[in-house]
Amino acid sequence: MNNWEVQIECLKGEFHLQVELSGGSRPLALIGANGSGKSTILRGVLGLENPEHAFVRVGERILHDSKASLCVPVEERNLAYLPQGLGLFPHMNVAENILFADRSNTLTLSELVDGEYSTTVENLKIKSLLHRRPEELSAGECQKVALARVMIQKPQMILLDEPASALDILARREVRKVLSEQLSDLGIPSILVTHDFRDVRDLVADIAYLKAGKVEKAGSADDFPGGESDEFLVEFFAQP
């Protein structure tokens, strides 16, 4: 049985999105031109948008089944979302950002440093950053903080929407390094929207190629660059 499955159908004017995706523990990279529906899928899974038809199952839990009129609200889905810029709150310092993932609002800074999560803080090497603000951090450090927050949240799935796309190439490399080191250790399934082949390569992700609201091709990275005629795919895999 797959770890998760997602079926989404939605109509936005002329645009018709209809996809079925599923996956195991390996990350799935959603690639495709702008407007092919990548972000809409992520937002549908997260529950931030309400598609006409949807079936979302993560682990054993069904989050959305429009046939059974079941739709778990965003707040109760327990999925992690890392949007562009990673979604760190600029008015909170690193510790406050991380502790904000604790719904019950009972976790304290000292527990974060010495208690159950001390290894998380230690492994990510963010102990010295706890009192800084996100704007004072490098891109890689921001990524670490975002992952620390994910670890407190203990989500059932992580959804990343081009988290590093606004960064320059060196910062992007830094973020990619942190992600590839940590994401597999977490063992939480993830979906990543990306425009960068190196993300797919370094995260050893499966790929789903979207074109005009449909999954044009899906498989592991090895299945892909063979004799493509599709212009987007040729260009995507031609990236160094």
Binding site: L46, L48, V74, E75, E76, R77, N78, L79, A80, Y81, P83, Q84, G85, G87, F89, P90, H91, F100, A101, R103, E135, R149, Q153, P155
Partner: protein, 270 residues
């Protein structure tokens, strides 16, 4: 090439400054003239004048009450204006700007026609024992109507520009809408809200026209500082000038303190 362009834009900046000087002087001169023409002894006399003290207290209390009303009800209203996609909210936004472009005297007459004894809800208010015109609450109401649009505008823009991704993240972390509003949205929009509040408060302190028509000019009841200055002008010009200077100082103090408050890093600097 680069330095030549730099020089060119420097020339443009100089020209713009020269063209701007007349307006700058016109804006600056009244304040300057007040400082020059008021003798120090007169300022002290004005400060001790019971009419001034009474009016100053009234101005501060009424504008504080007005600000509390504006912030409590205006913040949610601005949030709704920023987030509602309906055409109805666009229409409401347009109407709410009206007091900005209307002469305050017209607003005062409007207030009388609405809340006055013969106004459209005057009977209703009288039935519950409320007689608003020419009372302290009338002063507050006039200030609210005149000042609120300045806060609403600024707050609406702030809410509209807030990063929605961050709100979405807070939702996925499982937080309630109320907690998200107070812990994420409000702090993110802090600067815009503060700037709007400052502008509205300054406008409320300076309110004259609508207050005069709706609340009258009764010392100790409805006579705010601007009205007190207007009345004093008839009996003692120099005292009025000194009072004006004190109002100017009060406005500057307000401006400076809020500016400083805005810059404190504890509340988040960006």
């Amino acid at each position: 090439m680069k330095s030549e362009e730099g020089r060119k834009s420097l020339g443009a900046a100089r020209l713009a400054w020269i063209l701007g000087v007349p307006l700058f002087l016109i804006l600056l001169l009244p304040g300057f003239a007040l400082v020059l023409s008021a003798g120090l002894s007169k300022v002290w006399a004005a400060f001790l004048d019971p009419a001034f003290l009474q009016a100053a207290v009234l101005s501060l209390t009424s504008s504080t009450v007005a600000m509390v009303l504006i912030l409590l009800s205006g913040t949610p209203l601005a949030w709704w204006l920023a987030r509602s996609p309906s055409r109805f909210s666009r229409g409401v936004e347009l109407i709410l700007d009206l007091p900005i472009i209307l002469p305050p005297a017209v607003v005062g007459i409007g207030l009388l026609q609405a809340f006055g004894r013969s106004g459209i809800i005057g009977d209703l208010l009288a039935a519950v024992g409320l007689n608003l015109p020419f009372s302290f609450m009338a002063v507050v109401l006039a200030q609210v109507v005149i000042a609120a649009p300045f806060f609403l505008r600024s707050a609406t823009v702030a809410f509209r520009n807030a990063d929605r991704d961050l709100e979405d993240v807070a939702k996925t972390l499982g937080h309630s809408p109320v907690r998200i509003f107070f812990q994420v949205v409000l702090p993110l929009c802090r600067r815009g809200l503060l700037a709007g509040a400052l502008l509205a408060w300054a406008r409320a302190l300076g309110e004259f026209g609508a207050t005069l028509l709706f609340a009258g000019n009764m010392p100790g009841v409805t006579q705010t500082l601007p009205l007190a200055i207007f009345s004093t002008l008839e009996r003692d010009v120099h005292l009025a000038i000194a009072m004006s200077l004190l109002l100017l100082a009060l406005a500057l103090l307000l401006l400076a303190s809020l500016r400083r408050f805005e810059k404190t890093p504890a509340g988040g600097h960006r």
